[in-house]
């Protein structure tokens, strides 16, 4: 829209949306406040989910809210990674100062992977299968940003 640019709409309406995370995620984030990570388990197939959820899609089984919780350690394995110079939230314009390594990490004792940054690890040393542990924010607030990222064990 280079020379033809006519109208640019930049935030003259502010309509923020607040999401209620639901009962399962509420419990999950409560445990973040104590720097602990928890998952929940399907009674049928035994799969442990992080983040926890109400339904195992494969078994079509409801996971009850009041039990099936599993306490998990702060450690995990790197299953996959990617490296990007861009800020994911604004690829068009802004580059991060340093390339970020973003990893898919399987928390020990769970069957799924979560996506976070890898911290203090040089690009040449990243290896699928490496052992990692969670780096928690000093004062967790009970939200996804409480996990700063993963560091090498």
């Amino acid at each position: 829209m280079t020379e033809k640019l006519v109208v640019t709409n930049k935030g003259f309406v502010r309509a923020d949306f607040s999401f209620w995370v639901g009962l399962y995620m509420d419990k999950f984030y409560d445990s973040f406040e104590n720097k602990k990570i928890i998952g929940n388990k399907c009674s049928k197939c035994g799969k442990v989910f992080v983040p926890p959820r109400k339904k195992c899609g494969k078994c079509n089984e409801t996971i009850p809210l009041d039990n099936n919780w599993v306490n998990l350690p702060n450690t995990g394995t790197l299953l996959n990674y990617t490296i990007t110079h861009y800020k994911v939230s604004d690829r068009a314009a802004r580059k991060a100062k340093k390339p970020q390594i973003i990893g898919m990490v399987q928390i020990d004792g769970s069957d799924t992977a979560i996506v976070y940054r890898l911290l203090n690890i040089d690009i040449e040393n990243v290896k699928i299968g490496m052992k990692l542990k969670i780096e928690w924010e000093e004062k967790p607030k009970g939200n996804p940003a409480d996990i700063k990222g993963f560091v090498q064990v």
């Binding site: 949306f17 990617t82 990007t84 994911v88 992977a113």
Partner: protein
Amino acid sequence: MDKVGIVGFYQVKLYSDANYGRYEMIFEAVRGAIDSAGLKKKDITTAISCTNDYYDGRTISNCYTVEVGGGYMADESKVEMDGAHAVLYGLMRILSGNHKLSLVWGGSMASCFPYHAARLYETDPTWERPVAYVNDITAAGFQMRAYLEKYGVSIEDIAKIAVKNRKNASRNPLALQEAQNANITVKDVLDSEIYADPVTELMVAQPCDGVAALLLAPEKQALKITDNPVWITGVGYNQETYYLGDRDLTKSMSMELAGKMAFDAAGIKDPKKEIDLAEFFEAYAHEEVIFSEALGLVDMGEGTNLNSEIDGDIPINPSGGAIGGNPPCGTGLIRIIEAAKQLKGEADGYQVKDAKKAIASGQIGMCAQNNIVYILEGGN
């Protein structure tokens, strides 16, 4: 299923920054499709559009496309996925027996908004979105690495797919000019900017401006309109779970199941032998490989060894595919149109010889979470 005829279509030239507005572009495509069939607006009994409120920058975005999109004082509805999904809606309306001619159009203008940043809005707002590590590009980086690791395939082998599609696009006059790279080399692809390692810029189907439209009619009606319709003889669709960490990214289970459903409907037993060409919506070069394997066009892990050139064993994306230009909401629809052109023998400059049966696919979601597959057959 009863076969449904494709009786007309039109695609506008794709631009990274088009010199006209989206409504003019929609009108060009819709009018073009109606003219190509020698029909009038009044012949359309139902119109289905595919746009996305976020990409259009307004809610209920089809309320502004009424006149140009064939919806004025008419039966009109919208799909907010890929254009190929809108075709399914149009197809169902024909198969319901209530409609004689259905118009389907889709597309948008990616030049108006930061497409990849917008894809962050697809992520879970209660978990992944606040920390912002996942969008379509980082997800693609994960998937490509997962595939390379599992089968010991090299980055060069994936880059070759991008080279093939960009060379094919150079023979397709409607492809995006930036993707028409007749003399591109594997080195050019590898040396292009890293988007999310190992995915580089030239492996990405660049979001652009464009709209396409097609017309569907039941068998009897189709034969009244044209002597040379292309038939949709099968369709299948499927999707997998949302979280990337729950999925096996080395393959596409949803594409495999969608393919089975479509092959069953069309009575195809051995796709390797029966399919003459495929037009995939490959948002990234490696997806083309994963899709070919999922659909059984080649054995698992062997996707990069398939000769998929225009004169190869099974030509894939002879038009250049989505890498030849990716107007959000229009790309899958364009795949169907391109496959139809091949079956009609109208793909000037990139025609596959003796093309009788083709696959066309559309997708939506991170790492193609949802896939839709069509079987198209030509000749009367």
